[in-house]
């Protein structure tokens, strides 16, 4: 399974890019440790640790999320994919056993691929930091069970989903309650072990592995397929095609129509909403955490949230690339840029309501409805900029391409500086309103010009490339 995982991941992007990723993580660990004093200035020590633990817990939930979508996800983007996890279909192996082994593989893979390089980088970084290497090792040892807890939680939800959606929702809800209780009580066993030496670390591991054990025991041996429902109605494609004619200037209407039906019938929209909600909740948590920890209050206004929501637009584009296997298009007189453009049209016209809905909610809850029009303009500019760049550099393989360290680094360098600038401007809004408004508008116009540039390069980059 481990060998399969390495081959699968390195097939997503180049082998060189895949193996560069741990180097990137070493660098990140080194920098974070070397700058630890500056990054955590004024924040109580316990708050910093709590933030780290919950960050790793969410990271585990995120990586385990692939287990939630599992073979469905892989089959959609890669066609029929036969992995070792499907062996119980033909071999005398139980799904329970395979689920348990799969979990162990995931934990080992991320421990070797992420934790080990991160620890190495952090240890190297202690040379420029106040942190003692032994203490850093102890910290990393305490963070791994938190990651494991997140991973195990995602596996539990996946296992319950195999039985029924209601079981998955109930299980997910219970997990959230437990997390909330841990947050309210301000303690995780592994955090307490790191600070005070007790309780013993195995307790933290035990609690973290409990959901994984439950996941393995609860996974059903049979996956009952519901009777296939009748989809849509006879004229649906033709009507969708007719209503997509306006897009002829930018894309092939027949492809836009097909992608619209895919979006609707695959229920990817629901997943898009959830994938938006999770990182935004993380940001809310960070905002609350900074509020508690810093002597100065940092208030993120609606404009700031507009920048963030625009950035997360890249996730919507990435979801559009996971709806279905695109190899069928290779049998038609079409090229990859035709499909990329169709999905960009869909992003701009059909999925816009998700970020707009979030922006409306944020403005309402913050009582900043007066900032909503500007925030939406910022959100749209950032979103179009990020997504057009993502489309240019990743084409149809957004998720897998970002595993390539070189592509990830380019994405980082293009996306982060303008976002940081806009975030800083948003925070200065109240102090110098006219100047900031001009600066924000100018920055957004520059982003929109860059969007045109990236969009124009899609044809050159992806013409002649394979669909699969």
């Amino acid at each position: 399974m481990l060998q399969e995982e390495v081959r699968l991941n390195s097939s997503f992007a180049s082998r060189r890019g895949f193996w560069l990723f741990p180097l990137l993580v070493v660098g990140a660990g080194l920098l974070a440790t070397a700058l630890a004093a500056e990054l955590t200035a004024g924040v109580p020590y316990r708050e910093v640790l709590l933030g780290l633990h919950f960050s790793f817990l969410f990271y585990g939930l995120f990586t385990g999320g692939l287990a939630f979508f599992g073979s469905d996800f892989l089959e959609r983007i890669f066609g029929h994919y036969a992995l070792v996890t499907s062996l119980p279909e033909t071999q005398p192996l139980s799904y329970r056993r395979v689920m348990g082994i799969y979990f162990c593989k995931e934990l080992l893979f991320y421990a070797l691929f992420t934790f080990a390089p991160l620890t190495l980088g952090a240890l190297l970084g202690t040379s420029w930091s106040f942190i003692v290497p032994g203490r850093m090792l102890r910290l990393m040892a305490s963070l791994l069970p938190s990651f494991c807890a997140g991973l195990a939680g995602a596996f539990l939800v996946a296992s319950l989903y195999r039985r029924s959606l209601y079981a998955a929702v109930a299980g997910g809800g219970t997990l959230l309650l437990v997390l909330g209780a841990l947050l309210a009580s301000d303690g995780l066993p592994q955090l307490a072990w790191y600070l005070d030496g007790s309780p013993p670390l195995p307790l933290g591991w035990g609690l973290a592995l409990l959901p994984a054990l439950a996941a393995a025991l609860l996974v059903g041996e049979f996956h009952e397929q519901a009777l296939p429902p009748v989809q849509g109605y006879r004229e649906q494609y033709r009507e969708t095609l007719a209503s997509s004619e306006w897009s002829r200037r930018w894309a092939v209407p027949a492809v836009v129509a097909k992608e619209r039906l895919d979006l609707q019938r695959s229920r990817t929209g629901i997943k898009m909403v959830f994938s938006f909600a999770v990182p935004l909740m993380m940001l809310v948590f960070v905002n609350w955490f900074l509020d508690r920890g810093l002597p100065l209050e940092v208030e993120f206004n609606t404009i700031f949230w507009g920048v963030m929501v625009g950035f997360f637009g890249t996730m919507l584009y990435s979801w559009l690339n996971t709806m279905d296997d695109s190899s069928f298009y290779a049998t038609l007189p079409l090229q990859v840029p035709d499909l990329v453009r169709a999905r960009l049209v869909l992003f701009g016209t059909v999925t816009w309501w998700i970020p707009a809905l979030f922006m409306g909610l944020i403005a309402l809850l913050s009582r900043e409805l007066r900032l909503l029009p500007l925030a939406i303009f910022v959100m749209a500019a950032v979103g179009l900029y990020i997504v057009s760049y993502t489309a240019w550099i990743t084409g149809l393989r957004t998720n897998s391409s970002l595993y390539d360290a070189t592509i990830f680094a380019r994405f980082f360098l293009v996306s982060v500086p303008p976002m940081v600038l806009l975030a800083i401007l948003s925070m200065a809004l109240e102090q110098a309103l006219p100047v900031v408004m001009v600066a924000l508008s100018f920055t957004c116009l520059v982003l929109l010009l860059a969007t045109q540039l990236f969009y124009g390069r899609i044809e050159h980059r992806w013409a002649g490339e394979e669909f699969d």
């Binding site: 959609r76 066609g79 029929h80 296939p228 009748v230 989809q231 849509g232 109605y233 006879r234 649906q236 494609y237 033709r238 095609l241 092939v252 209407p253 027949a254 492809v255 129509a257 097909k258 039906l261 895919d262 019938r265 695959s266 709806m323 279905d324 296997d325 190899s327 069928f328 290779a330 049998t331 038609l332 007189p333 079409l334 090229q335 002649g464 394979e466 669909f467």
Partner: protein
């Protein structure tokens, strides 16, 4: 692939035969512009494939091996998509009836059996009545009745001036349908055959295949 050199004339029913992993699918993908050859030239209908892959695919019908039709479209919608992309005026109903999709009306392709999905791929390739058909293991997963139907249709298509390039390792179908064939093994063409000549020599395609490949 190495030293692959052959030609197929208009009106030929050409079979590319070979064991698993011989290079049949790779060659077909090169001919249809899905992948680029590292060296050499390929022309289809007088068009250089590497430079004009879109033009080649606009005049060819392709049935890929191990591929699936769009998961979330019904068979009817897949054919409507193909017709819309190719800009042709054809009777979708006729093809739905030909491949007996009445039971699958309203069901998206991912809920269909493999054989039904294969029929969708065949219909999508045949519907535009292209000048040339590239078929990669087209009979896979089809029941004997549908296989017979498809064979009859292909024979009529070629008799009407069409050209077929058939990849298969099912020699009985090749023997029935093809007038010319090539045997490929480990990326090289081992033999170019006129089937009429073969029959006149009192030998079979299977015997020759075994001799070339074994």
């Amino acid at each position: 692939m190495r030293d692959v050199s052959f030609s197929v004339e208009r009106g030929d029913f050409f079979g590319l035969l070979g064991p698993n992993g011989a290079g049949k699918t790779t060659l077909l993908k090169v001919l249809t512009g899905q992948i680029r050859a590292t060296s050499g030239e390929a022309e289809v209908l007088g068009l250089p494939v590497a430079q004009q892959p879109l033009e080649v695919r606009s005049r060819a019908g392709i049935v890929p091996e191990q591929s699936t039709p769009p998961s979330f479209l019904t068979p009817r919608e897949v054919l409507e998509l193909v017709v819309a992309v190719r800009g042709c005026e054809v009777d979708v109903e006729w093809w739905l009836e030909f491949f007996e999709f009445e039971e699958a009306e309203g069901r998206i392709c991912r809920t269909l059996s493999r054989g039904q999905r294969q029929k969708v791929l065949l219909a999508a390739a045949f519907i535009a009545q292209p000048e040339v058909l590239f078929l990669d293991e087209p009979f896979i997963n089809l029941d004997p009745l549908v296989q017979a139907k498809v064979r009859d249709w292909l024979s009529e298509y070629v008799a009407g001036g069409g050209t077929v390039f058939l990849n298969t390792h099912m020699l009985e179908n090749a023997e029935r349908l093809c007038n010319r064939a090539a045997i490929i093994h480990r990326g090289r063409i081992r033999s170019l055959i006129e089937l009429e000549q073969l029959r006149s020599q009192g030998t079979t395609l299977e015997a020759l295949f075994h001799e070339m490949v074994a």
